[in-house]
Symmetry: C2
Subunit: 331 residues, 2 copies
């Protein structure tokens, strides 16, 4: 339980000054090879590790820490992003702090504050709609921020990495229409969420392009989570003239929809955003819009380190491509 060794301890053991130890530790060039190896021996013998806390106290020395705020780390989408960020952070010798906002602006404010107190070198945020309120220039003081999955507040102030939501939804719905479906319903969650809005827009665009009027009765919004989505699907199945195909805006909703179909022993053409490992095995044919969430994290982190290293340029919106999987391929 002895306290950890300092450069001072190493210096004493090696019979040199603390500065020489610092030089060796930081791989500075102008050190005599003999001295260097003597110091290195002392370091090994004591098991010395530089105290990062102390190092980064000096002005200009960043903390080698970056922070990530997501809605809920246990969500595989977010944890995949975290994984990608972690990977790039590691390449840059940085460690990753994670915290969940639970999609609540209050929590978000709190965790961003905590990150700033720990002097993170940068922040990746899956922002709540109020995120721009906490991420003011005064609070940030030059600490770079990259938004993931959703942009932050007014466009053009922060870098962002988002999916090609509109195009993905458009492609999925267009596929259904090409298959001959004319009554294509849609189920979305909270209409306040950026991704849902974009995907809804893609759905509408596809209908319009095909010369179909969108039927308000077939557009169900505000059904978040699988339970509510299940109810929504039941509503659709209860209709006098049922839709023959349904586009749902995420995998939680898809799950609920599948449950409802299963309960009623029915099937129809289903299209969804987000991949489904078991899709190929299900009795319901699914058209899926998939993407690489880990890569999303990597891109965000790369952008962040670009900013941390003071590579400038205007804030950019990085678009992650999506891929359409047709049911014929998966089954």
């Amino acid at each position: 339980m002895s306290s950890r060794p300092t450069m001072h301890d190493v210096a004493r053991l090696a019979g040199v000054s603390i500065k020489t130890v610092s030089r060796v530790v930081n791989q500075e060039p102008r050190v005599d090879p003999d001295t260097r190896s003597r110091v290195q021996e002392a370091i090994d013998e004591l098991g010395f590790r530089r105290n990062e806390q102390a190092r980064s106290l000096r002005p200009g020395q960043s903390t080698a820490l970056i922070g990530l705020v997501t809605g809920d780390l246990s969500n595989p989408f977010y944890s995949s992003i975290a994984r990608g960020i972690e990977e790039v952070a590691h390449e840059h010798g940085h460690l990753l702090l994670t915290a969940s906002s639970e999609e609540q602006p209050g929590r978000e404010r709190q965790v961003i504050g905590a990150f700033l107190q720990h002097n993170v070198a940068g922040l990746v945020v899956v922002p709540t709609p109020q995120a721009h309120l906490q991420l003011t220039p005064e609070a940030l003081r030059g600490i770079p921020v990259v938004a993931v999955d959703r942009p932050i507040g007014p466009t053009g102030t922060f870098d962002s990495v988002v999916l090609n939501n509109r195009v993905g939804a458009h492609a999925a719905v267009t596929h259904l229409l090409r298959d001959g479906h004319t009554r294509v319903a849609m189920i979305d969650g909270d209409p306040a969420v950026y991704t849902g809005r974009e995907r809804t827009a893609g759905y509408l665009e596809a209908l319009a392009e095909a010369g179909l009027a969108s039927d308000p009765a077939l557009i169900l919004q505000g059904y978040h989570g699988d339970r509510q989505a299940e109810a929504a699907m039941h509503l659709l199945l209860d209709m006098a003239t049922r839709p023959t195909a349904v586009f749902v805006t995420n995998n939680r909703i898809a799950l609920g929809a599948l449950k409802a179909l299963h309960a009623r022993r029915r099937s129809l053409a289903l299209a969804s955003f987000d991949d489904f490992e078991l899709a190929g095995i299900l009795p319901t044919p699914m058209t899926l819009v998939s993407y690489d969430a880990v890569e999303m994290g990597r891109q965000a982190a790369r952008r962040l380190f670009g900013r941390i290293e003071r590579r400038g340029g205007a804030p950019a919106d990085i678009i992650i491509p999506v891929k359409l999987h047709l049911p014929e391929e998966t089954n």
Copy 2:
């Protein structure tokens, strides 16, 4: 881009000494209410935040940081654990650092080293088999460690939080046997992994208890990942006298098994560790051993903070209960 305000700045603005500011920030009692509010105003005006880095430089002051090492954060099992830890860490005013070992001892050593350099107050580790080599008392210097999912090295040296693997496997297999199955096969991944070993043991115990000899031909080991598991299931289906039921030790293997069954349009009784959201919808009836991974993380974190706060006692093995889901319930 002005540099962040320090206690010094606050002190000057409030017309007091830096120590008084420190007292206010730390909520120490003996401060004049007037002075306190004057200081508070200055803090608010400047947007002052205490620098955690500097605070924790003083000896005895911990970093308010804990570290988590998992195999791969993008794995939902691990990220659920991370979520539970995060939750408890937040309650204790700590932040969570995460890193992935990729199940490689070298990476594990590296990230643990990095965490120690950042003066984490404690560590939660999903250990590789070699973890005990990095987690020596000399390297740790009193920093507490809790193992999750698998114990670390020789038992009795570290606290651990693990699932009731044996009992879960036993219960699942016993259920199959009670249903009248006599040829129950098993597919496992890497036999070096603790959880797989325990689950295999539970399988064997259940057979023995039922008075059945275990048939080596029905025990397939070393099939990690869904691809290899798929092949394993094909092997079973190719047998002259096929098993009528199969127990698989995790959900990756279950996925492969399901794919094989689907490809050959066959069905048999399948039992698996780990839950499956879509289990109720699949054509194959599944017996599932489920558990609360988030709670696992919470328990580990609680234990860790017990140690950080110097509450002693011998290292304990905390067992997380599992639950059996029969196919009748889910379908």
